[in-house]
């Protein structure tokens, strides 16, 4: 008995030791080597000691490394995946003057999207820092996702966006344009297809609005915001328990029905309601023939565009074959400010603005599906002056400039 039990134990131990001899596979990690450079306009700006950030678009993890004196940032021990890479450098007003001729602080950015890195590969990337002098008018907040806890009575009728005077001088909104950018798909669904058109010289608008006025009718004081509501209605009063907003104090309202009817088209009286006490935005372009109105997409990229140009050149959506969908071409050079709002962190392929306008993009939830959550994308405050005026962060990179708030906060930064 004892012999047999002993032999059983010995057999057991030998078996355990033999099988345990199996080896583990070594990690198949990757490396990204980023070299920073500057555009010709900023030739001479030091690229040393600049934080470079990479974001794994699959698991949303971020890593930041400072560049060495040669402008190189080395990211080691990375999981093979797809990465977004970004870097930015702030220039003081004195330094910026040497490059732009404007004595205003400026942030220059560089961004690369969807860099696929294979196992055991060292991926070498070059980022070129570039930028333009920050606008005096900025997009302060975009609320496009719709109300929450409203029993679907409000849905997205309470959408608004807000333009903010970030300068110390009065700015005029008269005749400035607002462009809703295409495509409407922003990477939420597995079958969403990026537009695929180049973003170097133009962006593509599905809808365009214009502020009314003749030149000086709609001034905006420093530190004040102007809200443009889809419907200038107090939805908070309608549904007190809902996560929604009071749009009755909006400076501007959108209303497309009269304009569409004048063109022989029909509007949408269910979603598009006019408040006669609030000035209407001018309707310029709407790429839906009938039943359309000026709602924003769920994940809405918008641009504030200079007054002056007349937009006439359209382009057909190359990804849609079952019907003909056209977008108005907007020159990048005419854009004052823009914000790229996409569905989720892995939606970089759906960017609608070039890096020079928005080096990154923002989203309400990392994994998307943020419709009807009452969430809003709002620009952060860089500093509050002694006068109480807030100066908003404007590094031309919405990935860092914007934050998620709920509920939305129209006029929240106005000087009281």
């Amino acid at each position: 008995m004892k012999k047999i039990n002993l032999s059983l134990i010995i057999t057991a131990l030998v078996t355990v030791i033999m099988i345990s001899a199996c080896e583990k596979k070594a990690p198949e990690l990757s490396v990204i080597e980023v070299t920073l450079a500057t555009s010709a306009a900023f030739n001479g700006v030091s690229v040393s000691n600049i934080p470079v950030e990479i974001t794994n678009t699959v698991d949303n993890t971020k890593k930041t490394v400072l560049t060495n004196p040669a402008g190189v940032a080395l990211f080691e021990d990375l999981a093979p995946s797809t990465y977004n890479i970004s870097a930015s450098k702030e220039l003081t007003a004195e330094v910026a003057f040497n490059y732009t001729g404007f004595s205003k602080a400026l942030t220059i950015n560089a961004n690369l999207q969807n860099i696929a890195v294979m196992p055991l590969q060292t991926s070498k990337q070059t980022l070129t820092l570039d930028g333009k002098a920050g606008g005096d008018l900025v997009i302060k907040e975009v609320y496009s996702l719709g109300a929450a806890n409203d029993g679907y009575a409000i849905m997205f009728k309470d959408q608004f966006f807000e333009i903010f005077n970030n300068s110390d001088e009065i700015q005029y909104l008269d005749k400035l344009y607002i462009a809703y950018l295409s495509p409407t798909k922003a990477g939420q669904g597995a079958n969403d297809v990026p537009l695929g058109l180049p973003l170097t010289s133009f962006v593509y608008a599905s809808k365009i609005l214009q502020f009314p006025g003749t030149g000086t009718q709609y001034p905006l004081e420093p530190g004040m915001g102007a809200v443009v509501a889809i419907n200038a209605i107090n939805y908070k009063e309608q549904k007190p328990l809902a996560l929604t907003v009071d749009n009755s104090k909006a400076q501007f309202d959108t209303y497309a029905i009269t304009w569409l009817q004048s063109l022989g088209r029909t509007g949408n009286s269910f979603f598009d309601v006019d408040n006669p006490n609030v000035p209407n935005m001018n309707c310029i372009y709407l790429n839906i023939q009938n039943n359309g109105f000026f709602n924003m997409d769920d994940y809405a990229s918008i641009a504030l565009v200079k007054s002056g140009p007349v937009f006439t050149e359209t382009i057909k959506d190359p990804t849609i074959t079952t019907s003909e969908v056209y977008y108005m071409k907007i020159p990048v050079s005419e854009i004052i400010d823009g914000v790229d709002i996409l569905a989720k962190s892995s939606s970089a392929a759906f960017k609608r603005l070039p890096t020079v306008i928005d080096a990154g993009f923002t989203y309400a939830q990392e994994n998307g599906s943020a419709n009807y959550t009452g969430k809003s994308l709002r620009r952060k405050v860089a500093k509050t002056l002694a006068s109480g005026r807030k100066v908003l962060q404007d590094s031309n990179n919405s990935s860092s400039d914007f934050e998620v708030v709920a509920p939305a906060t129209p006029h929240s930064y106005n000087i009281k």
Binding site: M1, I4, N5, L8, I9, T11, A12, T15, V16, I19, S20, C22, K24, K25, A26, P27, E28, L29, V58, D59, T61, K62, K63, D77, L78, A79, P80, S81, T82, A116, M118, P119, A148, N149, A190, N191, L243, S346, Q365, N367, G368, S369, A370, Y372, T373, G374, A406
Partner: protein, 518 residues
Amino acid sequence: MKKQLSIIGIIFLSFGSCFAGNSDTTRVSDIVDRSLQREEYHLIFDKVPSLLSVWEKGDYALISTGFSSSKGDYTHPQLFFSKNLFEIRSESIKSLPANGWRFFGSVAYTNGNAETGKWNMSYYLPTNGSPYYYMIQQEGTWKSQSYDFNVAAQKNISGRLSAGVGLKYLGDLHFRTFDSRNENTTLKIQVLPSLSMNLDDKNYISIGLLYQRLKNEPDISNKYQHGTEPEKYHLFFNQGLGTWDNSPSQMRMIDSRYGAFISYRKLYKNSSLDAIYTMDYGSEEWLLKSVSTLNNRKEEISRYSYFSHDLALRHRSKTSNGSYVTNFDVKNILGDGAVYKESSDAYQDNYQFFSITADLEVSYIRSNSVLRQLSARLKLDNSSQNDYNYGHISEYTNIEGTLSADVITGKKRDVNFIFGGHFSYKMNLSGNHNPMAAASNFFNTEIAVPAFAYHTSDFYRAGARVSSEFDIAGGYRLDISLSGAFLKPVSINNYENQSTFTLNDNYYIMSLSLCFNF
């Protein structure tokens, strides 16, 4: 229709033999002997059906019913803090010596519910080492049912040769009752044909084949996030230790296993030795339920292949006043996972699994003594997971020792009482958790770290049992057992700040069972 007929056939076989009249079950001395009788079948003959030709324990038949309840915070973070199960089972062995046939049949039905379990949309976690399962952060309330049919038939085909076949059918359904309704249906069929040869009435050798097909059909109804609800409802498909898909399609899983086994039985004057070695290869495939030809997507999204080895030894020896029983079982699984990447149109290896468990138990059963049974058990558990896309490694080795004893009030035919107790201590021998590139990945912070803290914690388990048995009308014997066990951690070796339990937590299991022996 064929499937239904086969199920009816299995039930018929199971119940048919069960109600075949009084069996040897009622003639063995007590509940300890009856447990040994069933243990003998499940450890040896269940794996080698043709060896039923040398089944020496006599026929038995039983119908049992039981309820078990477990609760506590000291558990794996992806499993349940509360679980209640009701089971009814029938099991029997019937011999037809005139025709050279012997049958085994069992049928069981389980119904229960469970609560909590984060990051788990599968009810169970894979036992073969696969990293693939659907998950959401939100804990759930579950209902579960399972149907288990197990039959074996053996026929002497000559004086020295015996043939047998085992057929197992397991169907289960688990679903979350609210907060994202998720149904998970599993059908498992296993076929075990085998052949045994009597070499000289003291040595027997058997060979056989194993085929198992497991089909898992998750039916995910993802909950749409409303308003200000926390973002706990997003659906993921886990693919490793940090590798996951955050917008998975509806998939089904097919796990096919092909194996072979060989067994040897040696009879001595007062003892016997059985050895069974089984080796099998399995391939678990996750397949899209619908494939769009427009997108040219691959049907197979993930695959996990694995080898497993199992060596089981059982030695029994008789002494003048009792017997010794020694069981040893060592299992090893070695698996590799790969994920299909649409961007490169290729399968990318990313995952490796290795586990070895060794279980040694020695029991001394005394025939005519108040101290009826004494047992000592030692279990070694080594597990290693490696996601080499992230360089994420989680590995540990644990050992658990158990001492147990059963005391019987006497050998009374009319009524007996048995009191049993056991005490275990589990100790972590080693552990290594290095998330490397997955350090910031939520899989590491939310799942891997608390799971590792659980696996590498030390605990003690103390349990007690009270049983009684007595004759009832018709010459049947009735067993009633009430048992309980209590687990309490005594140290948390790693990541104490991120474990989901503290040293003040515990876990208990209570069960009550009733068994009619025919």
